[in-house]
């Protein structure tokens, strides 16, 4: 199979618009959680979220006008605009702007979302009820469909290769990176623009996740403390929004054009829990098998891992189940591996989480540093694994694994390695 490398990164996150500003704030131990101001939260149990800060683009704020014309922004939910921004950044970073028909046809898109245009669906349902079907916009459907993030990116950049999209809840971003890498490995494309985008923050999204008892509700007055994976006071995840997109490329293609290479995608594993729609299997076997499959594909053993970017959402059940699965995987190697949850800083971006976290795993390799798990004051269980509480740590990172687990019992693990020739 052909080898696949990462040559471009792009991101819109609650910590800023752009990969470097987000990464810097993560390493500084900052939180992107804040009180929600854009809609009424008075009757919602959860009043906080990791929102993207909109602005004119200065101070790393997100200015949608840079990425999509205002007339098109009106037609779509925010996840598509976030996806356009992250994809535009990633293609610029990779310096890949296909001009010839051959290059265009060799470049594809695979940007997924967990939920897609939830807010637009809710608003339009109200409009339909109150004012009737004639008021429903012709852009209602195409502006809400999950694969339209890929669609808009493909149209804007003239990408005529595979035009695909992943929908696996909170595993979406990781599956997109893994599946896109496979399309390149198998020769369906030479370059893939892959990742996830999500805009779930709205009254309906919060009401739904609150009903499922998934969100933090105890930290409305101190939002920056709410996302606290592995800490004994954790009480649910903090919803985030944004997008992460990677440019994946066949190794020789990247070398021929002298592209900057961040890392190689060397392993990808998938599994199903076959247990429950929202709860992870208590024995963590699904996560274990997904990681083990990724290691097998990479031709590595667990002791080769330096860093794990955990799924670690800050829910009471999930964090310890994942930790148990990782301990089982690592065995005696547990004490030499660092594992942190960057969701402590970014919140949980659902379908975009796996993509931004793949990027953090890659940056850990690039910079030989592991990002912290902030708010980890009192771990709820003892472990030999370094959970990197509070502060980032310099350490050699050559191999990093990123985990993502989703509703429906869907698990994905992706492994990156510093390029060795």
């Amino acid at each position: 199979m052909r080898r696949v490398v990462v040559t471009g990164l792009g991101m819109v996150s609650p910590l800023g618009c752009g990969v470097e500003p987000t990464w810097k704030r993560i390493l500084d131990g900052q939180s992107g959680a804040r009180r929600i101001e854009s809609f009424d939260v008075s009757d919602l149990q959860t009043k906080i979220g990791c929102t993207v800060v909109r602005g004119d683009g200065t101070n790393d704020t997100f200015n949608p006008d840079i990425w999509m014309e205002p007339k098109d922004q009106r037609k779509v939910d925010d996840f598509i605009i976030f996806g356009m921004a992250a994809a535009g950044q990633a293609l610029d970073d990779a310096n890949w702007h296909p001009e010839t028909e051959e290059d265009k046809c060799a470049t594809g898109t695979m940007i997924g979302s967990g939920i897609g245009g939830l807010n637009g669906i809710a608003e339009t349902a109200v409009l339909l009820k109150e004012r009737g079907p004639r008021r429903v916009s012709p852009f209602f459907i195409p502006g809400r469909l999950i694969n339209l993030a890929s669609g808009y990116v493909s149209i804007k950049h003239g990408l005529k290769g595979p035009n695909h999209s992943v929908v696996t809840a909170c595993s979406t971003g990781a599956h997109a990176v893994g599946d896109a890498a496979r399309l390149i490995a198998l020769g369906d494309a030479d370059v893939m623009v892959a990742g996830g985008a999500e805009s779930p923050i709205g009254r309906i999204g919060i009401a739904g996740f609150n009903a499922a008892r998934a969100l933090s509700t105890a930290f409305n007055e101190t939002p920056e403390k709410a996302s606290r994976p592995y800490d004994k006071d954790r009480d649910g995840f903090v919803m985030g929004e944004g997008a992460g997109v990677l440019v994946l490329e066949e190794l020789e293609h990247a070398k021929r054009r002298g592209a900057k290479i961040y890392a190689e995608v060397i392993g990808y594993g998938l599994s199903g829990d076959a247990y429950h729609i929202t709860s992870p299997s208590p024995d963590g076997d699904g996560g274990f098998r997904s990681m083990a499959a990724a290691l097998k594909r990479a031709g590595l053993t667990a002791s080769d891992l330096d860093y794990i970017n955990a799924h670690g959402t800050s829910t009471p059940l999930g964090d310890e189940i994942e930790l148990g699965a990782v301990e089982r995987l690592l065995g005696n190697a547990a004490s030499k591996v660092a594992m942190s949850s960057t969701k402590s800083s970014t919140g949980h971006l659902l379908g975009a989480a796996g993509a931004i976290e793949a990027i953090f795993a890659i940056l850990a390799i690039r910079d030989n540093v592991v990002p912290p798990t902030i708010n980890l004051d009192n771990p709820s269980v003892e472990t030999a694994i370094d959970l990197v509480p509070h502060q980032a740590k310099k350490r050699e990172v050559n191999v990093a694994l990123s985990n993502s687990f989703g509703f429906g019992g869907t698990n994905a693990s992706v492994i990156f390695r510093r390029l060795v020739h």
Partner: protein, 79 residues
């Protein structure tokens, strides 16, 4: 331009994101102002909303230019 014409122009500029000076009576939504078939459906909806009238599909099909819209609405506008 009539008062209705000005309101039509404002809607077209807003929805199609075009320069105001391009929005002249003879301008075709699709050929001159870059609209696609979905944009024209939405434009008609915006006219209905602004002018408080219903534009039946067979009438909508005859509204191809800015002038067509102004002419139709000068006859049928209710607000």
């Amino acid at each position: 331009m009539s008062e209705i014409g000005e309101r039509v122009k404002k809607i077209v500029v807003e929805h199609l994101g075009v320069e105001p000076e391009k929005v002249v009576d003879a301008a075709s939504f699709i050929d001159d102002l870059g609209a696609d078939s979905l944009d024209t459906v939405e434009l008609v909806m915006a006219f209905e909303e602004e002018f408080g009238c219903e534009i039946p599909d067979d009438a909508a099909e005859t509204i191809l230019t800015v002038g067509d819209a102004t002419k139709f609405l000068e006859k049928n506008a209710k607000s």
